[in-house]
Symmetry: D2
Subunit: 434 residues, 4 copies
């Protein structure tokens, strides 16, 4: 995570201020629950809320931590400075630091998921808009980088939409995976704290109590969370690579938006680089790299070891901030992508009708010409196009063996682009609903 | 995937015979649908089913492929040898090889998921049985590898159960991710084939039609599938590492089952190695390594490139076969794990009551002793245990400053293990249901 | 590793026959050394060599292993069947199975490295040949997929040569990393075997004695080995991606070789897919995926655990066989790559001289025109090219403000391609030597 | 990279100030070379050095970049503010931004390598010291976590030394891989700049000119660099895992240093957690995760795309800062590790002589007892130890069948630890030199 690739809302989730705020809420709600259970006096629980609107002083907490060497104790000490050390004396009773830290991390990841879900929803809106705009903009479909059959730009946007829609579902599942909390003590037995405290705190924070924890919340949940992020990142790369291909000098079917005043890299007007999509390609790699350490974090020793902690202090903010930034950047890119339908048509016609050769072949066969003869007929006319730059349809119309089997109208019909786009509405209905 | 770490049912899914069988079904169902639509004659569609019970000859197909250099064409040629080349002439009409290959791959992955789901269900049954068996078997909980507070072996099994239960859900989602088919032609436009053919084929094969495909089914689905497998593998490692720790010479709280006649590695009876769990640790790494290439496969060029293919030819069988084997091995390991409750108790008592020092500290505080004095009292008695091997409770009972605050009965009560196990039933109810 | 992507020489290294042969050599050389030290009788050592030319019976060994459940013991039992059980009774004395297994693995990896080194040498020869062949074949250099300045196809081959030459060095270092053996006993203390046995065996097998081992040879060596393979694989991908770009329909500056009779995917002659380079892209992912598990294998527990074993049984053969196949495929691809110089020139001229605009800009500045004015002059002529398809040089020659600063000859000179290729020889000398 | 896991020297390498300082040096040296070649006036080259001791104003450069949207141009503009815009007008002539950026990155990575090399040298000194200190401190060697045969703590330190010594060599090779620079223009042809400028700049910065570059320095070099870091990280994990095992409550053969005043996590004196080694385990995962994106960065499109850039902006600082911190932390940990020789002896004797059973077995055989009988004799005495807590040697001495074959002195001799340590000096000589 570096400022260049960050947006403030996601960064804020990972700030010390947010962290202390969440810690406060966990402790305060826990006091409420303990008071309700008669474990601590009601007035002490109420007193904690005096700090409700306090902006905790990060520098002061750091100062205390320098002495205590313990972040949660430092915070509690600082909290007592606001609440009064006598009133605060029941705060954290029966709890372990991990109860606070692990529940807090999941609150942060849940909020991060909320932002990412909103990001994808915005991206989906952009993709849908562009899909309908270019529903009928014909371009050549390519397999292996080689012209295959016609498709439409709308279908390209639609498939990105469908993929991102799956990612939306994955992010929602990921959010659910991580939206748990635990206040269960040193090894998760609730020896020193009533399970109803956990229930109350989780409820107030919008979490589900972790059914069984062991000082820590089990890390398969976090592995699932980061895996989901990695898949979203790979889909971003998928779209980015398409844009980079479209913007290539020889293809130029689309370009990232260039503002009026913006200079290309030089005096050359063609020198407009798809730097946003290239950047997204790199950012995807960064998000993905969190997966392996997240998986390695699952196998902790016995009830917990702390090897996961340094990993999560990094990948927690890094992967979510980078993905949030990437989704935002991609949405802008899609919204503003300049599409060149005429270039699409010119590219498709580069081989003057040859992309239709398969249809002609099929038609000849269906008209009763043997498979071998059909192939020979198509091939000899195709070769004239390929080698001499002839026009395929013209050649076919002039070939008596072809016209013996197919009427001019039938030949003409084979070059109708509508043949290829006739199911676009069907597909759109599948993707976007009727 | 090597025979040593393979089981026949999963291997069979990836055999050439199975693959050809699935190809046959795709082609035959497609013919039925085309016949129903009036695109091909009904009798030709029916004729294809003559090969219904044929065992396709893999060697013969290889022989043809050596000539045609194309696997699907080789298969179709061989199919025609069974059906009759005239009757078979409409087979595959309007379809591309990828329609067959990609739909087949997803059928295979779906079946693999079914086996893996059944594997996890068996593992869950074993974990549940052992959890109830050892619900009250007290052992010391450990954080950082260091004794913390008592827990029970049943809770250990229960948390593995809960984790694998989450994996069961993940595998079910993964199965859903991958249970789609596509018969949509060269770039996914259905130019040469009616979408209803795809619908029929998918229905007959238990798949959902891919809403939008582009010769290939989008690879974010496969990335999600292999990610789920990697998480399951990491959970296996989690359990394996616990067993390896328990079986350490100095700990010896459990051992992998050794059959009566089986020799350890030598004359030394203590030399029984946790080789199954060590092996599972390695297998987990193998399953996990499929994740990155699966994620890299998502960004194909335009409507498709074939870079994903060689990857999937390997990780498809490798990851599923290895995970299936690992789950089976782990289930056996859990079912037969030899648990040593008396060693658990002896380990816990290694520091003669010291694990209870926190409770004593808390009790002193609650009895009105200041925090500093309480700490000093506990510490000086703890030190006698630590340095001279004394018994903690005995020392406390002999310390007048302690007994001034706490009665012998109160001190005694602090050493009651029931304090730590009082919520085991609550947790079991959460994990296994009431 | 699947047959489709395998070559016999590398596969043979990993066959059971080769493994047993290496085991035999380790045991026989160890007997020689022990006899020389007077530890075992000379005649028993000599007797072992009776099996020198025996083809060990894999099926028989498997049969024995089914009983003994131990591969090395099964082999030794079978060896005794050849040597005579009395003569063979000193074989393996004082050794552990790992002495044999780990030393054998390193022999296999060393041989694999030898094949890979030879593979890269062949690839280098091919790259060098093509580099000189196309030293002066001008093509447009591209950054961000966008035309930048002219370069030559020879420089493209030369940079792949330089990269593969670095890989050659890396493979040699990797070979050195792995060319060690260990015969040091259960925990590496040589308690039961003299270090001179290790020295002799290593010398005879072309290995260096591992300075300090612990039943196993330390796994950082293997991690380094597989890391080197992964870098080579990434370089293969780098070349493959260049070919895939060159073969794109719109670019078509080169094509993978198509044999005369070979049909493209259809009647369309342009439909020749770069399937070899796409396949190489996928194979690179497969080789790379061995890196993470190899790194995870480094941290074994104490003197050894066996978690690395299942990993290496897979990635050992898989990564080396796949990389060997990929290097062979790439060499053929490079040797036969069809290069289209005229298409390169046509692509470069797509924007009719615009790629020279930077030189013109610089020349104007150097002729005393202010930077702002120079930019304006270049820009207004460039725009005519860009928007109206004019020729850049023609426009400049017709612009009085330009010709006021630059003579026609000076303008003409700016379009000299030789300006861009003048240092090609210098670079070739750097890459290939004077 | 987060402050908690960072050290200032490495962080400084990646600061904007350092970056601008390196940019300045590249530009100034390039001017010198151009002046020497007569391409620009000597006085202009000299003028640039006026900024030699300037502390560049990062805020000011950011301000300019906000307008120009280009970091190198912003810097050059700011440089001109110091040098004088007229004097500075030849700065950067014929160069591209990448010439500056890529050369700068390699200077930073080279300096980072220098720090890491020094880190490893310090670690080696610590390991060597502890190895000699505990050369003869006997402890039990363990395979599979199970007692095997005696070894010494010195050998444990010695094998970590040998492994880190290999890492030292790897880091030196990695430094060499990355110590290149390039000033070769837009596509690497030196069209606008003389190769001798590159030579001079590289010489002054301690770099080798990249033999062939293409706007960028080829990324296989960086992949090799980050791969080396990942191996070092895995070795750190290897050592960390050993410490964590030694500090386990039941083992307690060593502990991370606890300062006098430092409290464990509670009143329990045994509760000293190996948090440094657990942290190192996590940090190793963080360093390793840079490998895959670094490998993915190798295959750039044509002469360059910019996808690698965002990756390196992160992993460049992150991986080097984290590894530097980890090496420093590990060195302190090793220097201060508290070793408990008496616990080692107690652990080894847990099974009262059983670890010697293999030697007794061997001795019986060599004394002429059949293998089967020897095994039976050892086994029946071993079982008394295992099941009744007897002492192995005592039992053997009391077994007439045993004493019939072996004299009491011979039996006694089998329990001599010197048997296992007799080659420690040999191994030390191999590892540390004679």
């Amino acid at each position: 995570m570096i400022p260049r690739y960050s947006r403030p809302d996601m960064v804020a989730i990972w700030s010390p201020e947010t962290r202390f705020r969440i810690w406060f809420e966990i402790e305060a709600h826990a006091c409420d629950a303990m008071a309700a259970l008669g474990v601590i006096p009601k007035e002490n629980a109420e007193a904690v809320w005096k700090a409700k609107d306090v902006e905790f002083d990060t520098a002061r907490i750091d100062e205390i931590e320098a002495v205590t060497k313990h972040d949660v104790i430092a915070f509690l000490t600082h909290l007592a400075e606001h609440v009064g050390s006598d009133e605060a004396r029941f705060v954290h009773q029966g709890m372990t630091s991990s109860d606070v830290l692990d529940t807090c991390l999941n609150v942060q990841l849940t909020r991060a998921a909320d932002l990412l879900i909103a990001d994808v929803e915005k991206l989906l809106a952009a993709l849908k808009k562009r899909a309908y705009e270019h529903k009928d903009t014909v371009r050549i479909g390519r397999s292996h980088g080689i012209h295959a059959e016609p498709t439409t730009m709308g279908l390209t946007f639609a498939r990105f939409y469908a993929e991102m829609d799956r990612n939306l579902r994955r992010l929602r599942v990921a959010r659910e995976e991580i939206a748990t909390g635990a206040i269960s003590g040193a090894v998760g037995t609730f020896a020193n704290i009533d399970p109803r405290v956990e229930e109350h705190v989780c409820k107030m924070l919008g979490l589900i109590p972790e059914p069984i924890s062991t000082q820590v919340i089990p890390r398969d949940r976090h592995a699932a969370f980061f895996s989901a992020l990695a898949i979203v990142a790979s889909s971003i790369e998928n779209i980015a690579v398409e844009v980079r291909h479209m913007q290539r000098t020889e293809v130029l079917e689309a370009e990232e938006f260039f503002s009026k005043g913006q200079k290309g890299s030089s005096a050359m007007p063609h020198k407009r680089n798809p730097v946003l999509s290239e950047n997204l390609t790199g950012l995807a790699r960064l998000v993905r790299m969190a997966v392996i350490p997240a998986l390695e974090n699952v196998a902790l020793w016995h009830e917990r070891d702390i090897s996961h902690s340094s990993v999560e202090r990094n990948i927690g903010p890094d992967a979510t901030v980078t993905l949030d930034f990437a989704l935002g950047r991609l949405t802008g890119l899609i919204e503003n992508l300049v599409v060149y339908p005429e270039n699409m048509m010119r590219n498709m016609n580069k081989f003057r009708g040859l992309v239709m050769s398969q249809r002609v072949l099929l038609a000849l066969t269906q008209a009763g010409v043997s498979r071998e003869d059909s192939y020979r007929l198509v091939q000899r006319n195709a070769m004239k196009v390929w080698e001499q730059g002839a026009d395929f349809k013209t050649e076919l119309l002039a070939d008596p063996e072809v016209t013996a089997a197919l009427s001019p109208a039938e030949i003409e019909e084979k070059f109708d682009l509508g043949y290829h786009t006739k199911h676009v509405d069907t597909i759109f209905a599948r993707v976007f609903g009727a």
